[in-house]
């Protein structure tokens, strides 16, 4: 059974239907990319998954548990970490406070301390700046902080929303390197990206979302060579 299984998911904003019955699955240890243009419903999918938006119909099963009726704060406890779009960090708190808040759902002090040093190892910049107010970090560093914060909850799957958005090319590459290394540690990743080329390069499988529907799916390497995908998303 897949770790995360989404079936016929429909989501509405008022009368407007944003998701028109999408289905996909994520297996343990996989990196799945969800690509698509603006307004395709990528962020909506993630927000429904993490409980921020309610689903109209359909089901989301995580490890066999239904999520569509579970409140957001309980979903995190079940092992789904969310890196929200646009680097939503806690601007007025220190870097360390941000990371500590990531572990809010955990009670094991030793485990938290161990994970904190692991995160400092992965993001040395964050350790250098741990007492700094998070709002004063650069865009790329804020994205790292958001990722580090999500990892602090010791998730089984990490869900990332446009991690490369608005970053300089150097930072974009760095962020993707980090995702690669997270995956090497055996973490399951659901990645939503507009940067289809980079996303397909590191993903195992991918789904293409178009105006609320999944129009294409398959192995990431196949999609990378797909005529339609090349034309629509890779600009070739």
């Amino acid at each position: 059974m897949a770790l995360l299984e989404i079936k016929d998911l429909c989501v509405y904003y008022g009368v407007i239907q944003a998701l028109k019955g999408i289905s996909f699955e994520v297996n343990e240890g996989e990196v799945i990319a969800l690509i698509g243009a603006n307004g395709a419903g990528k962020t909506t999918t993630l927000h429904t998954l993490t409980g921020i938006l309610p689903a109209k119909s359909g089901s989301i099963q995580f490890n066999g548990v239904e999520l569509t009726k579970t409140p957001a704060h309980k979903i995190v406890r079940m092992g789904i970490a969310h890196v929200p779009e646009g680097r939503r960090i806690f601007q007025n708190l220190t870097v360390l406070d941000n990371l500590k808040l990531g572990a809010f759902t955990r009670k094991d002090k030793d485990g938290i301390a161990a994970d904190l040093s692991k995160i400092y190892e992965r993001f040395p910049r964050l350790e250098e700046r741990k007492t700094q107010i998070a709002g004063t970090l650069s865009g790329g560093e804020q994205q790292m902080l958001a990722m580090g914060r999500a990892l602090m909850s010791k998730p089984r799957i990490i869900v990332m929303d446009e991690p490369s958005m608005g970053l300089s090319p150097i930072f974009v590459s760095e962020i993707f390197d980090i995702i690669e290394s997270i995956r090497k540690d055996g973490m399951t990743v659901l990645l939503v990206e507009q940067n289809a080329k980079k996303a397909l390069a590191i993903a195992d499988r991918a789904y293409v979302l178009e105006t609320g529907k999944i129009t294409l799916s398959g192995k990431a390497s196949d999609l990378l060579n797909d005529e339609k995908v090349r034309k629509a998303y890779l600009g070739e």
């Binding site: 704060h73 309980k74 960090i89 806690f90 007025n92 808040l101 809010f104 759902t105 999500a150």
Partner: protein, 361 residues
């Protein structure tokens, strides 16, 4: 010298130290009789307003929501505790025990109101929350002003019409007499008690802000979606903060109602809520020490300006505007901060050492 204090702890200890110094100074002045009776009468209200301001700062500064219901919670606490004290004043004659219980009653009843009001209201944000809490304060004030409660051998009588409507027997006693309010409350508030309560409130707030819960609340203020994404139950933490604010407002109300012989609901109008908000904004949103300073200065000011009688409120307004400009204008502010830092280097160095030593003990 023991281990280095982190900046937050240092800040709170400076505040504790300053409060202690002010307290000792006032006590010395009181014992030498150099404070006029007018000023003496203001000492308890200053503490009351300071508690109200620091507790409102929790909701406005730490939670980041605008609440204008502070006078309402204060009113609930004042009435609940005054009723309690009037009922037990024959059976409990020890004022310390009676007043401690009254403070708890005032605080807990206000906190309960905070929770009841908070559950529906905290779903609102920004201006809407301000409007609804403002309405709450006005409703509370008007309900208490229209309430007649008395008791006699037949039990409790409640009416919304008039005293006569209660039909009390000759042995009956009035508890709340409509717009005339409650009278006969024992005068248990003293400056010393009020100060101790203020001190405890400040300790509670500093510890709350620097706790896990406080961090969670500040993260909601900073970014609601991110807070949800790390697994915070937003409603729960908002409600905790709101209830704590209400609790402290209720405690302040208790101090207030036990400072006067009679208590009228008309005192708790929206002007009071706005005044407390002014203390918070002038003292700096989220700045606990600033709230106390602003509350003290703005309570003393009208009395200090009494000598110029007719122009008193004019000066009050001018000073308010000047203070507002000085605290918000970047150029003026940086000028003050620069000079203040120099001063700080001279004076505060010793004091923070003193605070550190105190903690080490």
């Amino acid at each position: 010298m023991k281990k280095k204090l982190n900046p937050q702890t240092r800040k709170s200890f400076i505040t504790y130290g300053l409060l202690m110094i002010v307290f000792i100074a006032v006590e010395i002045l009181l014992s030498t009789g150099s404070i006029s009776s007018m000023m003496q009468g203001l000492l308890v209200p200053i503490c009351v307003y300071s508690i109200l301001a620091v507790s409102l700062n929790l909701t406005v500064g730490i939670l980041g929501e605008l609440s204008l219901g502070q006078a309402g919670f204060m009113c609930v606490g004042a009435y609940a505790s005054a009723i309690f004290s009037n009922l037990v004043k024959e059976s409990i004659t020890q004022p310390m025990i009676r007043f401690t219980l009254a403070i708890l009653v005032g605080g807990v009843v206000a906190a309960l109101f905070g929770i009841i009001i908070g559950i529906p209201v905290l779903r609102l944000r920004g201006d809407y929350l301000a409007i609804v809490t403002l309405a709450f304060g006005e409703i509370i004030k008007n309900v208490f002003a229209a309430l007649y409660i008395g008791y006699d051998s037949a039990g409790l009588h409640i009416s919304l019409k008039s005293q006569g409507d209660l039909g009390l027997k000759p042995d009956g006693k009035m508890i709340i007499n409509g717009a005339l309010g409650i009278s006969g409350t024992p005068n248990d508030s003293t400056f010393e008690i009020a100060f101790v309560i203020l001190f405890i409130s400040v300790i509670i707030i500093y510890n709350f802000v620097h706790s896990r819960t406080g961090r969670a609340v500040m993260s909601i203020r900073d970014n609601r979606i991110a807070a949800e994404s790390v697994g915070l139950n937003i409603t729960k933490y908002k409600l905790i903060t709101f209830a704590l604010t209400a609790f402290l407002a209720g405690v302040a109300g208790t101090l207030y109602s036990h400072n006067f012989y009679s208590l009228q609901a008309s005192k708790f109008d929206y002007n009071l809520s706005i005044l407390i908000l002014v203390f918070v904004v002038l003292g700096g949103i989220g700045n606990i020490r600033g709230s106390i300073i602003a509350a003290a200065v703005l309570t003393l000011l009208p009395e200090l300006l009494r000598s110029i009688n007719n122009y008193r409120m004019l000066f009050y307004a001018v000073i308010l505007i000047v203070m507002m400009i000085c605290t918000s204008n970047e150029t003026i502010r940086s000028f003050f901060i620069r000079n203040f830092e120099k001063l700080k280097g001279l004076i505060f160095k010793k004091k923070s050492d003193g605070a550190a030593v105190k903690e080490a003990e």
